[in-house]
């Protein structure tokens, strides 16, 4: 009797097996190639065996199994995409072992009990990456999106509060030792902040990038002094919502260019019509450095379905490397490390969730509050239907749009 040839089938350590109950994807984190397979039948058994820790990404198959149409095709795909390979067992004295990609994050908040371990709190302050401060709520404009846009994107919002300047000074002196690399300053009309010049002078002295977010209609009154705000590490983000006044955009653009103020333009878009208008503005005013941000108004769900929701094609185009994929398993990459201070001096890890403290609390206490009881930094795609979706880790972390629409996911695959 002729004995069958035997092989070791193995994956490379940069290949992830992403799976749910029915299907698996072999995701190559170098090239982002994907092989989708059904977990039915013999091939399904092989994939499940590859996932078992004891097998270390390597299982035995024989010649007959390799002749199976599905298994043969799978092996060919693995080889073609350099995500794995087979080797005759006769070439190996010992079964190959592969260090499969599984995150070992030593100090993480897995359960509330973690907080008994003081190591969890070690170097909390370095977690902080970005601070957003709404210095005042005062503003003379009456935009229709005033109460909604700031919950979806970095945008101004109007109210009757103003941050006490001494509290701001105290806060800024506490940033040494944190990981904060960006500070956003907003209002209302932040230019109406009573100590705006003093604040700008203070901010310009600290080695952190500063962005002043100003509504285009508010900026006109401040042209004489706008150069005081910015230096080589700071810039202005000009906010625009529809309906727009094109003439004002033109004036603002000309003046910012003339004064050599580093800036970009941020347009809120809630419909295809607004998008067309945005394109017209861009071509007729010569404004550059523009970005568009979708705005959910409550009545434009179809616009969101067509333009914001992810479909399978979008997901297939996603490229994430191993580290980014690991990040998505434990943190919300949109929110982690970000704090927002509203003009009433309440602090938020995300303005869609309850406050986590006040401006004058120690920063490590605010971080502790968020990690222990907050809903933002650690909010990942671990709830149904995402938790059952094979694309769970490829998909970006939940965004403010999910919170605004009160939905777990914004995709057409599991809508």
């Amino acid at each position: 009797m002729i004995s069958k040839r035997k092989y070791w089938l193995y994956l490379d350590s940069y290949s992830f097996i992403l799976s749910n109950e029915k299907i698996a994807i072999i995701y190559n984190s170098l090239s982002s190639s994907k092989i989708e397979v059904s977990l039915n039948g013999k091939l399904g058994e092989i994939i499940k065996d590859l996932q078992l820790p004891k097998n270390m990404y390597c299982v035995g198959i024989d010649e007959t199994e390799l002749c199976d149409k599905h298994i043969g095709e799978f092996v060919n795909n693995l080889k073609d995409l350099f995500s794995g390979d087979i080797v005759e067992t006769s070439l190996c004295k010992e079964k190959p072992t592969v260090i499969y990609p599984e995150l070992k994050l030593q100090n993480q908040v897995k359960t509330i009990d973690s907080f008994d371990n003081p190591e969890i709190g070690r170097n909390y302050l370095t977690y902080l990456k970005e601070l957003t401060i709404y210095v005042t709520g005062e503003c003379n404009e009456n935009c229709n999106c005033c109460k909604s846009a700031y919950k979806q994107a970095l945008f101004c919002t109007k109210n009757y509060n103003t941050v006490d300047f001494t509290n701001l000074i105290d806060l800024l002196t506490k940033l040494n030792g944190t990981g904060i690399g960006n500070i956003n300053v907003l209002g209302g009309d932040m230019l109406k902040y009573p100590k705006i010049d003093e604040l700008a002078s203070l901010l310009n002295k600290i080695p952190i990038r500063i962005t002043y977010h100003i509504h285009y209609k508010n900026i006109c009154n401040y042209f004489e002094n706008i150069h005081k705000l910015t230096n080589e590490k700071s810039s202005v983000s000009v906010k625009v919502n529809f309906p727009t006044e094109k003439e004002i955009i033109n004036i603002v653009n000309t003046k910012l260019i003339k004064q050599n103020i580093p800036h970009n333009w941020c347009f809120l878009i809630s419909s295809e019509k607004e998008y067309e208008e945005y394109e017209k503005i861009c071509s007729s005013t010569n404004i550059e450095n523009t970005e568009i941000v979708p705005l959910f108004t409550g009545g434009n769900i179809d616009f969101f379905r067509n333009n914001v929701y992810l479909n399978k094609e979008d997901i297939n185009a996603i490229n994430v490397n191993r580290r980014e994929l690991f990040m998505r398993t434990v943190i919300n990459t949109n929110n982690f490390g970000r704090l927002t201070i509203m003009s009433d001096e309440k602090v938020y890890s995300n303005v869609n969730f309850p406050t986590i403290g006040r401006i004058n609390q120690p920063l490590y206490e605010l971080v502790q509050n968020e990690l222990k009881g907050g809903k933002s930094w650690l909010n990942i795609r671990d709830k149904k239907p995402c938790s059952e979706c094979v694309y769970q880790l490829l998909c970006p972390s939940p965004t403010n749009y999910e919170y605004t629409l009160d939905k777990v996911n914004l995709c057409s695959i599991n809508d």
């Binding site: 072992t97 190591e119 030792g177």
Partner: protein, 504 residues
């Protein structure tokens, strides 16, 4: 230096590892052969149509072409590139960094007294060594202890402390710390009276000869106890009193009494530490302490630095190497399993997984660092930053970065009146030492995972300093081969590493 290495294991399997991308994988023998072919300055167009690898097999053109394509694929995604510079050749330690380390100090150790009721032959403060202050049966002053605590408390409560209730151990060391319990009590009471933004835990290293008098004190204050014991009575032969008599029976009774009287304290707070020498072995130490007390001890070798010239021969007779000793044992596998994370092989493998495999991240913060595509600005050598792990205050008020280094390396002092730490001078001292070793570190293949402390290099104050941790390419490949061999022998350990292990 190129970033990708191919390694063969004891079993003859091949693996590749890319240092920059922290990616590894099993390599088909032909794939490994092609790597070596290219490494010898050949280009792939010179590869023959068929290849016969002796003892392995014959490979056709199609197979050869496939592995050339795989090589090119990996190259396209950053493997086989120039190895990133791991050492910041211009690194300069600054006073700010030292200040930050103190504000986040992990361990403050007091040498409570230099008096000891034992006279162990191999003691770091005994005849073998000349790098310590004279032992004069002194006691640390309470005022000096308070001064240094106040000095640090100010930093712990400043905005430089980046932790929320971060853990600081306050440790009592000697001589024999139980010979000065009143001072320990005063220090504990004082620290407990302060409002600190640190979680404080107390610990002590003791020979336990006075344990019968003070066990209640230790239990009441939840003092973590590290008991020095070298195994059974014979193994403990160097741990004698000042008249040369064995103290074993008394120690045994004291430890047993503690275990029987306070079982939960013993379970949670007591650990053992043994010194390996020519009167014991890893196997004997382990089996005795495990059987008698149900604990797995940590085992250390005799300190090899600061030895008197005239004592070198005697030291060599007494010294035993941990790795050689454990490998000589007939029960190597069982020993490694019992020692688990304390086994040298496992410790090496842990470091390998942490540094080279791209799966280990200490904190959320580390996830934001794109190590794959950036040079890591690691300082030269494996020396801890001053006070990065601990601060050691001697009985005479000398301040050192660690109790394991010679007293000549004092960084400052504390008296009853003041703390004298000149952070600029400390920075200069470290920077001078780094300067001496920069070039060797820059050429070292294992600089990523270096654990060599500058203070343990015997000629660190000489004009030319040789680093004993320096690793050339061959030594590095041997190291990698040992790591992949370990992985093949103990594949189940990887999951244990992922799920259960915590590293300080």
């Amino acid at each position: 230096m190129k970033s990708t290495y191919f390694i063969s294991t004891e079993n003859g399997n091949y693996y590749y590892l890319d240092i920059n991308k922290r990616i590894s994988g099993y390599a088909h023998p032909l794939f490994a052969w092609l790597h070596n072919f290219e490494k010898q300055n050949n280009t792939f167009d010179k590869v023959p149509d068929t290849i016969m690898l002796e003892g392995i097999g014959h490979f056709d053109k199609e197979t050869i072409q496939y592995y050339i394509k795989k090589h090119n694929f990996l190259k396209k995604y950053g493997l086989y590139s120039d190895r990133n510079q791991e050492i910041d050749l211009n690194y300069q330690l600054s006073p700010d960094v030292i200040e930050y380390q103190m504000a986040n100090l992990v361990q403050l150790t007091f040498e409570i007294t230099d008096a000891c009721n034992l006279n162990c032959k191999y003691c770091a403060y005994n005849d073998f060594y000349n790098d310590h202050d004279k032992r004069e049966n002194n006691y640390l002053s309470h005022e000096a202890a308070k001064k240094i605590i106040d000095y640090l408390a100010e930093k712990w409560n400043s905005s430089l402390n980046s932790s929320y209730k971060g853990l600081t151990y306050i440790s009592f060391y000697g001589g024999e710390p139980l010979m000065n319990v009143p001072l320990i009590e005063k220090i504990i009471n004082y620290v407990n009276s302060l409002n600190l933004n640190r979680s404080i835990k107390y610990s002590m290293t003791s020979n336990c000869l006075l344990l019968d008098k003070y066990e209640e004190f230790l239990v009441d204050n939840k003092i973590h106890l590290l008991i020095s014991l070298d195994g059974n009575e014979y193994n403990n032969g160097y741990r004698v009193d000042h008249s040369g008599k064995s103290t074993f029976n008394k120690l045994y009774q004291n430890i047993k009494h503690l275990k029987d009287s306070y079982p939960s304290y013993f379970e949670e707070q007591v650990q053992f530490n043994a010194v390996l020498h020519n009167k014991n072995s890893v196997e004997e130490i382990l089996s005795y302490i495990k059987n008698e007390f149900g604990k797995i001890p940590s085992i250390g070798e005799l300190n090899g630095s600061g030895i008197r010239t005239e004592m070198i021969e005697e030291f060599n007779k007494t010294y035993k190497n941990y790795r050689s000793d454990i490998k000589k044992s007939e029960h190597y596998e069982e020993l490694t399993n019992d020692l688990n994370v304390s086994s040298p092989d496992v410790k090496d493998f842990d470091i390998f997984l942490m540094i080279y495999c791209g799966i280990f991240f200490d904190s959320y913060d580390d996830l934001f660092i794109d190590c794959e595509n950036t040079n890591i600005n690691k300082r030269p050598t494996g020396t801890c930053l001053p006070f990065g792990k601990k601060m050691f205050v001697t009985v005479n008020g000398k301040i050192l970065p660690c109790e394991r280094i010679g007293h000549q390396f004092g960084l400052g002092s504390v008296t009853k009146d003041s703390v004298n730490l000149d952070l600029s001078s400390i920075s200069d001292m470290y920077n001078n030492y780094f300067q001496k070793l920069r070039k060797q570190c820059g050429n070292c293949f294992q600089s990523h995972s270096c654990i060599q402390c500058i203070f343990n290099l015997p000629d660190i104050d000489e004009l030319h300093t040789k680093c004993y941790g320096y690793t050339n390419e061959n030594k590095f490949l041997k190291y990698l081969s040992e790591m992949f061999t370990f992985l093949e022998k103990k594949p189940e350990y990887y999951k244990d590493f992922i799920d259960n292990l915590v590293f300080q």
